[in-house]
Point group: C2
Chain length 544, copies 2
């Protein structure tokens, strides 16, 4: 057994889990009818309800003890103070500083200057002074991938409206996404915002080059394509070499990782489309969650509780699948966003000291918007062989139009949380089937197929409305959940070395495909694939 | 131990797994350099390569013996003959009949008539004769959810082009999706295709009603909104009551489940946008895969092999997470499509005879398009604490434009498959870091974080091009995989009782939210959520 599992707090939890595991959520509600009182906590406009998890007050106490054992409070301070919490890369993690929280003042000053500059630029676009042709800018093509894409894409989908400038996001190297973004674009009225921390990300640079070639081919000869390009990057030199004019280059700092960067100049697109006020509200919602995270006691702390319950489900109940279920079409991209945030941050198996982490870390994070997902994979959630834990996210107020739709949407979200947790046992199922008028023989045959075990742990996060402040708070909630789990698992949540190998290997494969490098040296399966790619390529080139 | 695990074939596999589990894919390639020869099979335009899985020829033989023990061949015949393979609902599964395969002739005749009618209608739209205003129809709003949505949505994204009629899909009850579809629509030039087998699906009917109200409010008074509605349903009577004129109602049969229905009149939208020829090619690609599935020996049978490898990973290597990784932006929706197909079909834990299936069934199915996913969750795939099995899907030829992008796309897909399977051990990592010029101390500190265990099972499915035929074959491949796994796990892949409970409970919650039913009787957590929803609702209503 590792020193990890031998620790006092971990052992106590393991012993507690043995006792608690056989209990059904239904029974926990019977034993403690007030559990939704202590299990429900509100901060920064969000209400977290953990009472439909397989935990008791004692579980929370024991988990808090684990957090104390792992010195969560001190680690939280270290992050807030701008210490190098990203050890393998010798960097701080300054996303809180970007929204004005934490003590990392140097970073604040720097980002404050940059922020003033990019907000200025956003204002200039919105006041129509910017385009060289004196035409309205009517389309933004945002080129970036991973952390330079998912945040702006999520927030735009969540808060954008039809009367704003049109935005297209281009991430994939597959040219289909760029082609779709360019389709119908007016060259003189389109700006390209190129986002890449290193300004060497292959997908982003190739897409930017192809976009520039398109613009140059389609702009009147007198125009300068470079003037319609903007860069958001740490590598300002490379952006300048690309041709971008200096006052359209907006740096973002080394202490801000891609997946924590939507608050920085990476959010420029949002500052244009949503406007400066909304963008600031988005940041202030996150700042409110920051203060709560830094100040609230562990057992009343939303991000900490979310993290603790996650660790409980993962490490003590053995649940490796976690579904994110926002009941809001506007949050349809939230599962993808959290997939990156959680899986790239904590999808690791080496501790900060380099030893193997022999406990489970981030589970599979996936999901879809409700009610759509109900007609796709909820069968599996309810009756599959595995248990999944679920986060149900409920913006209570919808658009003013179509209240009836909103009522049905909420009713489904609330009812699914109930159904997943409580289920319907064999006896209740038989009674329900009898009420349907089924014969005894039919009941006997069908009841097993129509029984629901329930006991699926469900966390509900609700808010009055999805708006800039609550969305900022929601994202910050998950950021701090991820940080907290990283501490509990003793892993560095801020590096991503796992991205390296495939990227390196792709260089050699690319050369082999294009005939600029050897096919030998690869394994036979890879070799066959390379040869197939070469053959198709020759065919295509010949036909052209 | 259950009779399941005690069976001869299952026990043999369990024993074999014990021996094979410690072996690395790298070693398997060393021991059998020809493994990619026997592991690569082509049919219906698709090439399957299973050689980067943790299997040997013996594994495939033992898995084939399991398939034989479970009488796969006979079950396949039963499905093909139109027998009631969906026992709990006493229905056949006739998706093969829809593409002209299988022996279920009665179904063929019926669907043949319907097909002629809906293709006629599609033709009439494309020849501009249909609209009552003699305007071009320039927008289709396809209203459906789950199986009435995901298939058409996937195929439209995969094969649609910008010069076709614009299509918007509306699934969610959240009115945001409908609002987006209606935004900018010309009432006189828009048709609504309403798809619901029962014509009682709440989301679909409410969306259809709201769409009709919008159309009635925006069409000139002399026009009849009903003429711009089309229904695809089994319940033709309900569609007629809704107001849809009889010759615009296209039935689809009781033996076709939603998630297997894209081949039927549910595909009407595709027949319009892609045209009749492409739609027929799509069906004929599937039919080609059907014939292969029905005729090829088990160990050379693509869907069977895909299923066997899946069972191996799931039940004998204990892998509960399966990632679908199409290297094609056009297939970005494939993970969602397969999520439904696999998880709704096989996310069950009761055998056909009503006994508990005490073996694992469908894993979590998730994923995203490459290369986008590489910058999001591949960290977890490579270095996470859990193993996931992966399907890498590679259309080799891209659009004629931007060959360089396509080369990079393929290079990444091929390289990731290599990296996931082979990894990079500690020694090779140290060598790589030394080559980067890192100091010994730094190498010692970083090497653990930059080592890749590999040994992630990867299946590669490639095709020359993504086109109607190969897409039809690809979907049919997975349909038959799902059927085969259902037989191996002894579950009914064609029912979905797990959808029932949440739906039932939502009725009571809805009444409580709108004040038409009691809040008492719910558990305290649910009650609190209902009250919060009511409060927000009152506020909203008051403000209006």
């Amino acid at each position: 057994m590792s020193d990890f599992r031998k620790s006092k707090a971990w052992s106590a939890l393991a012993a507690h889990a043995k006792k608690l595991a056989p209990q059904h959520i239904k029974d926990l509600f019977k034993e403690d009818p007030d559990r939704s009182d202590w299990g429900t906590i509100t901060a920064a406009g969000l209400t977290l309800d953990i009472s439909k998890n397989r935990v008791t007050r004692q579980t929370i106490d024991l988990l808090s003890a684990l957090a104390t054992e792992k010195e969560l409070a001190a680690e939280r301070e270290r992050m807030s103070a701008g210490d190098q919490v990203n050890g393998t890369e010798a960097r701080a993690a300054l996303h809180m500083a970007l929204r004005g929280e934490g003590a990392a003042s140097a970073a604040i000053t720097q980002s404050g200057e940059v922020k003033a500059r990019f907000l200025d630029y956003a204002r200039s676009i919105n006041s129509d002074n910017s385009s060289q042709t004196h035409k309205h800018i009517d389309r933004i093509i945002h080129i970036g991938i991973g952390g330079s894409d998912l945040g702006p894409r999520l927030v735009q989908a969540a808060l954008g409206t039809a009367d704003q400038i049109q935005v297209h996001f281009v991430a994939n190297i597959d040219p289909h996404e760029l082609n779709e973004a360019l389709d119908g674009a007016d060259p003189a009225a389109t700006i390209f915002i190129v986002v890449s921390k290193s300004f060497t990300t292959q997908e982003t640079i190739e897409n930017a080059k192809s976009a520039k070639a398109w613009l140059e081919a389609n702009l009147p000869a007198a125009r300068n394509a470079n003037k319609q390009f903007v860069a958001v990057t740490e590598n300002t030199k490379a952006a300048a070499s690309f041709g971008i004019i200096p006052d359209r280059i907006f740096p973002f700092g080394g202490g801000v990782g891609g997946r924590f960067s939507v608050w920085s100049s990476v959010g420029l697109t949002l500052a244009i489309t949503l406007g400066e006020d909304a963008f600031n509200h988005f940041l202030s919602g996150a700042a409110e969650m920051d203060r709560h995270f830094l100040d609230a006691p562990l057992e009343r702390n939303l991000p900490v509780l979310l993290a603790l319950v996650g660790v409980w489900n993962r490490n003590f109940l053995g649940i490796g699948s976690h579904a994110v279920l926002p009941y809001s079409q506007r949050l349809a991209l939230l599962p993808s966003y959290l997939q990156q945030l959680e899986m790239e941050s904590n999808g690791k198996s080496v501790r900060r000291n380099g030893h193997l982490a022999d406990v489970e870390t981030a589970p599979t994070i996936w999901g879809a918007a409700g009610t759509t997902g109900q007609h796709a994979f909820y069968q599996w959630l309810h009756q599959g062989a595995d248990l999944a834990s679920c986060d149900v996210i409920l913006p209570l107020g919808g658009p003013d139009q179509y209240q009836h739709h909103q009522d049905i949407l909420l009713a489904n979200g609330i009812a699914q949380a109930e159904a997943l947790a409580f289920g319907r046992n064999r006896q209740a199922t038989e009674a329900a089937l009898a009420e349907e008028g089924l014969s005894e023989a039919k009941i006997a045959r069908l009841a097993p197929h129509r029984t629901f075990q329930g006991n699926r742990p469900v966390t509900v996060i609700s808010m009055d409305r999805l708006e800039p402040k609550t969305l900022g708070a929601l994202i910050a909630l998950y950021e701090h959940k991820v940080f907290t789990q990283g501490i509990l698992w003793d892993i560095n949540s801020f590096d991503q070395w796992g991205v390296e190998l495939g990227k390196n290997l792709a260089g050699g494969v690319l050369k082999a495909i294009t005939g600029d490098g050897p096919v030998e040296g690869f394994d036979p399966s890879t070799r066959r694939l390379i040869n197939a790619a070469r053959q198709t390529r020759t065919k295509t080139t010949r036909e052209d």
